[in-house]
Every structure is written in structure tokens, then in C-alpha cells.
């Protein structure tokens, strides 16, 4: 069990890199919505690679997480804005992006410094992402929307499911993370983080399937 947990954390980089390579391969023929998502995947891959390098060099790579939370959320929010256009208040996502940007800057500057784990920002990001994912599920269940976005439906279901599973598990991990570090053993913490890596893998698998099923510019 311990071996499995260690391996899951060790090889968690593989799915994101594979997804990024695939996204790069089909990027030129992706529709606008999927292009925005592909930028999120590229960002994840770059952050993952740089953080690995920093890890092997013995440097603190947590500042990258602060950056990843902010830019990653902005890209995902823009992705949801493009697919939910006309179904949500027009400036809501822009306001959420602005509010979250302000919050993460204040958080990194005064509450959780750049060299520490930003569990508060990650928790807020997870809550916002869960709201967007659940709402998108509701929107995609509507017959009129299904008819209008028929081309993207299957792809969006995979992507939304992946993001929902990941951020739901993340909410638990980031929310309980501090408690676990404080009160539980290193092994229990390792199990918790291996669970997080497992859901990250699930998310990237869902993203690959979503990209694979997404419409291309030629037939969209």
C-alpha cells in the first residue's frame, strides 16, 4: 500500500505531460473553447516540469503553486465563460476572475507567503471550480442546450467530469491538509497526497478523452 502511494505521487507527472503533448499535437485544429483548455494543460505541464527540476535541485517550488493556482483558475474560468456564454450573467465570470486574482495576491502577500503551501487559495479555487462544474452539468442536462451544443456535448461531459472529480477531491485534501499535517503521521499524509495524485491522473485521462472527442475546426 505504501509502495503504491509512493509510486502514484512519483508518476503523477506522466498524465499531465502526455495530455500536454496530445493537446499540442491537435492544438491547430481545436475550436476556441478547447484551445483555452489546451492553454491550461500547457500551463500545468510547464509548472509540473519546472517544479520537478526545482525539487531535484533541492529548491522550494511552492512559489510555482501560487502562480499555478492564479493563472490556472483564470484559464479554466475563461474556458467555462466560453462554454456557458448566454446562460450565466454576462460579467459574472469576469468579476469572479478579478475577485479571485485580488484574493490570491493578498493571500500570497500577507496570509500564506510564497514559500508556504497556499491551502486557502486552493480551497477557494476548488469551491469556485465545483460551482462551475455542477452548474455546467445542470446546463448540459437541458434539452435545448444539448441540441445547441451537440458538437461539444460528449467532449464537455468528459472534461467537466474530470475537473469536477479532481477539484472535489482537492477540496477535501486542501481543506483537511493542514489538519492532517498537524495531527497525523507522515504515512497518513502520504496516503492523502497519493489520493490527490490519483484524482489528478483521472482528471488528465478525462481531459485527453475530452480533447479526443472534441470537434475540430474543419467539421465544427
Amino acid at each position: 500500500m505504501e509502495y503504491l502511494a509512493v509510486n502514484l505521487i512519483e508518476y503523477a507527472s506522466a498524465p499531465v505531460l502526455i495530455t500536454a503533448v496530445y493537446a499540442g499535437f491537435i492544438h491547430h485544429r481545436l475550436v476556441t473553447e478547447m484551445r483555452i483548455l489546451s492553454y491550461f494543460i500547457f500551463l500545468s505541464a510547464v509548472i509540473e516540469l519546472v517544479s520537478k527540476v526545482m525539487w531535484y535541485q533541492g529548491e522550494n517550488n511552492l512559489p510555482l503553486l501560487h502562480l499555478y493556482v492564479l493563472i490556472g483558475f483564470i484559464l479554466l474560468a475563461m474556458f467555462y465563460r466560453s462554454i456557458l456564454q448566454g446562460f450565466i450573467p454576462p460579467k459574472l465570470i469576469s468579476a469572479v476572475i478579478a475577485g479571485f486574482t485580488l484574493f490570491t495576491i493578498i493571500n500570497s502577500a500577507f496570509i500564506e507567503p510564497l514559500t508556504t503551501f497556499n491551502s486557502l487559495a486552493l480551497t477557494v479555487q476548488s469551491v469556485l471550480m465545483i460551482i462551475l462544474c455542477v452548474f455546467t452539468f445542470l446546463v448540459l442536462m437541458n434539452d435545448i442546450v444539448r441540441e445547441k451544443r451537440q458538437d461539444l456535448l460528449s467532449s464537455l461531459n468528459w472534461i467537466n467530469s474530470g475537473l469536477f472529480l479532481y477539484y472535489l477531491s482537492s477540496l477535501m485534501v486542501f481543506y483537511l491538509g493542514d489538519q492532517f499535517i498537524q495531527y497525523y503521521s507522515a504515512l497518513t499524509n502520504q496516503y492523502l497526497w497519493s489520493m490527490h495524485s490519483f484524482f489528478a491522473m483521472i482528471m488528465y485521462i478525462c481531459l485527453i478523452v475530452g480533447l479526443w472527442k472534441s470537434p475540430t475546426r474543419l467539421n465544427s
Binding site: 446562460f87 460551482i131 452548474f135 445542470l138 435545448i144 481543506y175 489538519q179
Partner: protein, 261 residues
């Protein structure tokens, strides 16, 4: 291995419940907004479809009226002129003393047929498009219609109007004229009425046409009524008006049009 600490209800579980509650509230709000947007979109789409259908109907009716006008003019100007010239030639031949009596009778017969054709042609031409409507307008044309109906003696038709010499756009005049003609036709054909009344009143930006008769009445639901009433409703809609039939004794119909004069 450290001793696991008991998770405190107040510090961990309650905020978590709060977060879940917050997520639920925001999702519910977004869903409400989404449903409202969807309803508005549906209404807007329906309105667009209705407008397109009305425009299509108007175009189709306009095309029909233009064609009727053209045929009526061709009949009157070309066929009418040809028949009149033929009649004149025959009358000239009749005055010729050199032709035999038998031939004269034959010529008289042919002239009679031509005169009958001329009368039919004028009637058809008038029914297709009364020239009076274009020249003198709706009120005067309806007066003529009333006089013609009354001359037959089968129905006593009266007209009350406050239009005077006011002219309206051609589509409106033709539309109202056709509606009145269809209603009068219905009364004569199916109504078994002794009296009928047309009221045409202009209000501020509206024109109200009320038609009543003392006949057997008609189905009040246009959807289940005959082709005539459906055609009246279509015409009323095409010129931006509404058409209603009221229940009660006899037949009572009301057409209200919004006009910009």
C-alpha cells in the same frame, strides 16, 4: 506513529458544511438565472418565428393582390377593349342594309354574346380588384358594396364609418376590403340573416372594424372554423391586426388594427 487527534466538530465539520451550503446556494442561483434566460430565449425565438411567419404571409398576400390587380387590369384594358371593338364592328354591320335578314339575326346573336361576355368580364375584373378601391379609397368602395348587396334584396346591409376621405396604406385598404367581402359572403352563403351591419371607426392610432348580422351565427373558435374565417384571421394578422369572434345571437366579429396615419 503519532496518536490521531479527534477531529473537532466545530473547527472542521461545520465550515465544511458551510462550504457545501455555499456551493449549493450559488449553483441554485445560477440555475435560476439559467432557467430565466432559457425562457427568455424561447420567447424571443418564438417571437422571431411569428414575425417571420407574418412577414411571409404579408409577402404572399401582397404577391396575390398584385397578381389579381394585374389580371384585373389586363382583362379590363386588353380583353375589354377587344370585345368593345368587336361589338362596335358588329353594330356597324347590323346597320348595313345589304345583308340578309338571317345574317342580321346571327350578327345580333353574336353581339349579344359579346355584350354578355363584356358584362362578365367587368364583373370578374371588379371582383378581382375593384378599381374604385385604388382611386377613391376604402370608405367609398364599401358604400358601393353596400348598395350592390342591398340592390339584390336578399340582405339589408348597412355601413357606419368615420373614415371620411381618409386614405390608408394600400395593404391596409385591400386587407380590410377583403375581410369585409369575406364576412358579407359568409352571411349571404351560410348566415341566413336578414340584416347585417359594418362599423368602421378610426380611433387615435387604431382602426376598429365590427361586423354583425342577425343570422344563425358561427363557430367562435377560428382554429376549428372553415377556410373563410382562417383566411380572415390570416389577413388580419398579415396587416398587423387581431381578429375576434364573439358568442351570442347572430354573428359578431371584431377586427382591430394598429395603424400609423
Amino acid at each position: 506513529m503519532e496518536e490521531p487527534h479527534e477531529i473537532e466538530l466545530l473547527s472542521i465539520v461545520l465550515p465544511l458544511i458551510g462550504i457545501i451550503f455555499l456551493i449549493a446556494v450559488v449553483v441554485l442561483y445560477l440555475n435560476q438565472y439559467f432557467q430565466r434566460q432559457l425562457t427568455q430565449q424561447k420567447l424571443a425565438e418564438q417571437e422571431l418565428i411569428n414575425k417571420q411567419q407574418q412577414a411571409l404571409l404579408q409577402t404572399s398576400i401582397n404577391a396575390q393582390e398584385s397578381e389579381r390587380k394585374r389580371i384585373a387590369r389586363d382583362l379590363h384594358d386588353e380583353l375589354g377593349a377587344t370585345l368593345s371593338i368587336s361589338r362596335m364592328h358588329l353594330m356597324k354591320l347590323e346597320q348595313n342594309q345589304e345583308i340578309s335578314k338571317d345574317l342580321k339575326i346571327s350578327i345580333e346573336n353574336v353581339r349579344s354574346v359579346i355584350e354578355s361576355s363584356l358584362t362578365s368580364m367587368r364583373r370578374i375584373s371588379h371582383e378581382l380588384m375593384p378599381a374604385q378601391l385604388e382611386t377613391f379609397g376604402l370608405a367609398k368602395t364599401l358604400h358601393t358594396v353596400v348598395n350592390r348587396v342591398n340592390e339584390t334584396g336578399g340582405l339589408s346591409l348597412s355601413l357606419e364609418q368615420s373614415l371620411g376621405n381618409m386614405r390608408m396604406p394600400w395593404e391596409l385598404e385591400v386587407g380590410i376590403y377583403r375581410i369585409v367581402m369575406e364576412l358579407v359572403h359568409n352571411t349571404i352563403k351560410h348566415g341566413r340573416a336578414a340584416q347585417a351591419h359594418i362599423s368602421l371607426k378610426r380611433m387615435l392610432h387604431q382602426l376598429e372594424m365590427i361586423y354583425t348580422d342577425d343570422g344563425v351565427g358561427m363557430k367562435t373558435n377560428v382554429g376549428t372554423a372553415g377556410l373563410g374565417l382562417k383566411s380572415i384571421e390570416a389577413r388580419a394578422n398579415a396587416i398587423g391586426g387581431t381578429f375576434q369572434i364573439f358568442e351570442g345571437r347572430g354573428f359578431h366579429a371584431r377586427v382591430v388594427l394598429s395603424i400609423n396615419i
